[in-house]
């Protein structure tokens, strides 16, 4: 033991339980899935070739990417506005804002999806209200289409967009902006040429975080899309639980996984990953 201590720090002994568990029960099967994507049903790149044959799969991938991009754009713009307001207001107001943000963060995804179902249906509260005040003659189709999926997803992602931006904006020295104004820049010049570039790391982190989380999103698209908007996550679940085709599902999962890892790598260039999640390494 003594001899071992000299080479390996004792700290590793208490790291080991979690590390081994994650390697054995998580990393293992994920590698197995990557392996399946090139071996099931037969060895080779047959599964990947399916992407180029026929347009059903490509359409699903394209729908997913398009919805994720739109979700990300809206969530980050809204998130920027909220974070900006939070940083530039009195402490008391900021506390209230943070409370609302965190409460929405904590409310169960199922409760929120259920709420949208009640609000957006043909006889939902939104349509009934709009008809009552005479704004629309026909109920608007909010559900079973991309609009409903987008509303639900943006609603879920906004808090995730706010948090990295908040971290980034709080670290900015207000005196830089004062200096810019003193040197004769207008308010909007100061914002676009000084403030915005300084929040760029937070902006990149928040964009990538929301995009990554949207990619694998399952609950909201499945419910609000009502089977009409098929995204990769739902397609994977159908392949596994209904048609039992591991190969195709594994191929889609592999593409998604590599995409996510690539984005994480880009993100780590801009911001320490642990900061994004609200903690900090030493």
């Amino acid at each position: 033991m003594q001899a071992l201590n000299r080479h390996i720090h004792t700290g590793w002994l208490i790291i080991a339980p979690l590390l081994l568990m994650v390697v054995a029960l998580y990393l293992g099967p994920i590698l197995n899935i990557l392996w399946l994507s090139v071996t099931d049903p037969e060895p080779g790149f047959g599964n990947y070739a399916k992407l180029t044959e026929g347009d059903a799969l490509i359409r699903i991938v394209w729908t997913t990417v398009r919805i994720c991009i739109i979700t990300t754009v809206f969530s980050v713009i809204f998130g920027y506005s909220i974070a900006y307001a939070m940083v530039h207001c009195h402490q008391r107001q900021k506390t209230y804002m943070l409370t609302l943000l965190l409460v929405s963060f904590w409310i169960s995804i199922l409760v929120r999806t259920f709420a949208w179902l009640m609000l957006l249906g043909r006889k939902g509260l939104v349509n009934v209200t709009l008809e009552d005040i005479g704004l629309v003659a026909e109920p608007i189709a909010f559900m079973r289409n991309e609009l409903g999926v987008l509303i639900g997803m943006v609603h879920y992602m906004i808090p995730y967009a706010v948090l990295p931006l908040l971290v980034s904006m709080q670290s900015i020295d207000q005196r830089v902006m004062d200096a810019s104004r003193n040197l004769g820049a207008s308010g909007s010049q100061t914002f676009w040429r000084v403030y915005l570039p300084m929040t760029m790391p937070g902006l990149v982190a928040s964009t990538l975080l929301v995009f990554i989380l949207s990619l694998g999103f399952y609950v909201t698209p499945a419910v609000l899309g009502g089977g009409k908007v098929l995204m990769v996550a739902e397609y994977i679940s159908v392949q596994l639980l209904v048609t039992l085709k591991w190969g195709t599902a594994a191929m889609l999962a592999a593409i998604m996984l590599f995409g996510v890892l690539a984005m994480l790598w880009i993100m780590s260039r801009f911001m320490k990953l642990s900061t994004v999640f609200g903690g900090a390494a030493r």
Partner: protein, 265 residues
Amino acid sequence: MKPGLFSFFNRVGAWVLLLFLVTPALIAIPVSLTPKRFLSMPQGEYSLRHFEKLFTSEEWLSSFFQSGVIALSCSALATLLGTLCAIGLWRVSSRYSELVRAFLLLPLIIPQIISAMAFYRLWIPLGLLDSYAGLILAHTILAAPMVLITVSASLATFDPKLEQASKNLGASNWTTMRRVILPSIRPGVFAGALFAFILSWDEIVVTLFISKYSVYTLPRRMWNGIRENTDPTVAAAAVILIAITLIAFAVSAILSRRNAPAQAE
């Protein structure tokens, strides 16, 4: 920057957005009070029958119980493993330990659908499908990174000299851990335990894949209710969940307020 017109409008916009985040969930309250047998807005009449059904239905009660057991076990296990690991990584603090830290955060960021696939794949041969152990293990792997983050954040403000002092005064590793390190990172450990509990309590995607009949958690039953889209008991369950969320939030706010002055001293 002077608070100009732009700033003012932005602040109003931010408040509108924040209300947009919170208010939709409240629709569950009127829907849960409908006297009808199907999902609808009450028209003048209110009834508590769906709450009565929720609290007398064997199915819903067993789901509450199962979710509670799973979330508590997951929280305990994740807090134990996550806290130990965070302390270990903090002690080692080398290039390798930072790599390990990044690796251990992956379950939090890898899309849930891929995690669900992975667990499903491995749980079949291990015979863990549709069992308490299977769900607890899967949720623990997803939740431990949360604990790792919160405890690491606490450790970042802990002075390593205190650990040295304790050892110089003759305390063993174990005593130092129990009497010096753990008390000073308690807020991080509690926060981690709470996050782990919520993650498990609310988890649906992985649960959909690895549970079937014998384990039927609360999110799973809600999911079913939402898909069927007829029975207002779901609305009553949603109201209870919102209430639990608010209570948990208030408790954590009070705890952190109590801890904040203690740290300042």
